[in-house]
């Protein structure tokens, strides 16, 4: 169980994470989705005690990470697979973690087998590892203490398709056994494939969260209009939920209702169709485009009611 509550992290005037709240529950894989620079890694660094929040709290199993007496036994963490000492062998990297946690030495070989690193590979220096091998080594380190919670930042980076499949199966099994998994990614497809719950972050703010089926299959209507802000207001006035992202409005109104509202408001509609899970993708694309255009990464101004 991971609980992030009203978390804010500022660097000077810049809010890298701005009032973020969400929960990752046991037995589920929670996907933390957002474009690069959206605040994912900062959130995870605060969660794991590597950064201090400006305000708000982040707890794992009901405790601040820094208050866990021997966190390796409770929370497996992989924030950056390339952040490993290049001069050590893969095995030595695991041995250090195994000793820190006071685990039996046999655990190291068990983990090497689990993540598919051969004895010969483990004897090589991490400097000579591919990113995929580093990810496997990082996963091995995270799982070493048999934790109940996993926190992984972009774990699929550098893995080949077979590796990604392996990672998915591993996380699925972990969650099915009652574990909590929080993993971040900047790729929607990756999150779609694995996550039970999705939290979308953009410009440091949570822009959507909920169960994957809800977010992805999202019933409702997508309306595109130049005057999207006015349209969103008109839909809200008509008693519908409406969310605008640039010139796209997503609403729970039926197709015909949405068309009528737009007509009555005198707004020319450039696209009108069933949302069909396009919502998340659309929003995510807009989010990505926004952060690419705009270095300050302002979140799209949302209108309408919360789900």
């Amino acid at each position: 169980m991971i609980t992030i509550d009203a978390l804010t992290k500022r660097y000077g005037d810049f809010a890298a994470v701005d009032d973020v709240s969400f929960t990752a529950r046991p037995g589920r894989v929670t996907g933390f989705l957002g474009p690069n620079g959206a605040g994912k890694s900062t959130t995870l660094r605060v969660l794991t005690g590597l950064a201090t929040p400006t305000s708000g709290t982040a707890t794992v199993l009901g405790h601040r990470f820094a208050d866990l007496p021997d966190p390796g036994h409770e929370v497996g963490v992989l924030l950056d697979a390339s952040a490993q000492h290049g001069g050590r062998t893969g095995r030595e990297t695991l041995v250090l973690a195994q000793r820190t946690m006071g685990l039996p030495p046999t655990r190291v070989d068990d983990m090497l087998d689990l993540v598919g690193l051969t004895r010969a590979e483990a004897a090589r220096r991490v400097r000579d590892y591919s990113l995929g091998m580093r990810q496997r080594l990082g996963i091995a380190t995270a799982l070493l203490g048999d934790p109940q919670v996993l926190v992984l930042d972009e774990p699929a980076n550098g893995l080949d398709p077979a590796g990604i499949r392996w990672m998915r199966d591993l996380l699925r099994t972990f969650a099915d056994d009652g574990g909590t998994v929080l993993l971040s990614s900047h790729l929607l497809a990756e999150i779609e494939a694995i996550a039970d719950d999705i939290v979308v972050i953009g410009g440091g703010r949570i822009v959507a969260s909920g169960a994957s089926e809800e977010l992805l299959s999202g019933t409702g209507t997508l309306v595109r209009a130049d005057d999207a802000a006015v349209l969103a207001a008109a839909l809200t006035d008509a008693g519908h939920q409406a969310t605008r992202t640039d010139d796209v409005v997503l609403t729970d109104a039926a197709l015909t209702d949405a068309g009528h509202v737009a007509f009555r408001a005198g707004i020319p509609v450039t696209e009108l169709r069933a949302a069909d899970g396009a919502g998340l993708e659309e929003m995510f694309l807009e989010l990505t485009a926004t952060t690419q255009r705009d270095a300050t990464g302002a979140a799209p101004a949302p209108t309408g009611a919360a789900a």
Partner: protein
């Protein structure tokens, strides 16, 4: 379906409590375990092995140079110890630098501090290991010097035996203190700078360049002449060496320089290290 949701996905209370109930709380990581891990870290990378190997070779080489190139009248325990100590004084602080700054340079700090979030305990373990290295290294240095002295004694014959063992215990203890100060300077630089190369260069500047700069400044600036011995650490440190114990004033000067170059920056550096964001 909305993109405005800020309400957290709330867990059902039952799943939350069962999660916590299932939690088997481990005891805190024992300090001895951390020290053991830090000892292992000082010898498990290529760079740390090179430094250990280089120190051993330089120490053995120093003996060989004395035996091979210096006149046999100089073959005393004191000479061997001096020659062995010189490379050690420059070398062992590098172990502290690698131990502390290496965590940042190689970014292994991410793993280290997620396994042990109470960073002060890791820093304390590293300090304990550094102190241990001073003791062990000097014990080996004394042993090596003694061995070389025995070899020299056998080679030179009986006539030189009376002067071979010429270093009183007090002087040897002061040499250990000298090394401890050197190690502490390296440790401090690593904590403050958190950058391996910068800390190594910083140490060499303090050990090799600072004394000359200081005496140059003292020769042209009257106001500094009297202050120099109280602020410049390397010369104060060298007062520990030699057969004569430092005077009370020299001890006091060592105290002020240690305060200025170690205690003060180390305090500030550790406070910063405990809070700094680890990326």
């Amino acid at each position: 379906m909305t993109s405005t949701t800020t309400s957290p996905a709330t867990a059902s209370p039952t799943s939350g409590t069962s999660d916590v109930a299932r939690r088997r709380v481990p005891g805190p990581v024992p300090f001895g375990r951390l020290v053991g891990v830090e000892v292992r870290k000082t010898g498990d990378t290529r760079s740390s092995r090179w430094i250990l190997l280089a120190l051993g070779l330089l120490a053995a080489g120093a003996c060989a140079v004395v035996l091979g190139f210096m006149p046999s009248e100089t073959w005393t325990y004191g000479t061997f110890l001096d020659q062995i100590s010189y490379p050690l004084a420059l070398g062992i602080p590098m172990l502290a630098v690698l131990s502390v700054a290496g965590e940042w340079g190689q970014r292994s700090a991410l793993t280290t501090f997620t396994l042990v979030p109470r960073r002060g305990r890791v820093v304390a373990a590293k300090a304990a290991v550094a102190a241990g290295y001073v003791v062990v290294t000097m014990a080996l240095a004394f042993g090596l010097a003694a061995l070389c002295t025995l070899v020299a004694g056998a080679a030179a014959g009986d006539d030189a035996a009376s002067v071979l063992w010429d270093v009183p215990v007090g002087q040897q203890l002061r040499l250990v203190l000298f090394m401890a100060v050197a190690m502490a300077v390296g440790f401090t630089l690593a904590v403050v700078l958190r950058h391996t190369a910068a800390a190594m260069v910083g140490y060499l500047l303090i050990a090799l360049v600072l004394p000359n700069l200081s005496s140059l400044l003292a020769s042209v600036q009257d106001w500094y002449r009297d202050a120099a011995p109280w602020v410049e650490i390397t010369s104060a440190q060298y007062n520990l060496l030699g057969p004569d114990a430092p005077t009370g004033e020299q001890w006091a000067q060592l105290g002020t320089t240690v305060l200025l170059w170690i205690v003060l920056p180390l305090t500030l550096g550790v406070r910063r290290l405990l809070r700094v964001e680890i990326r």
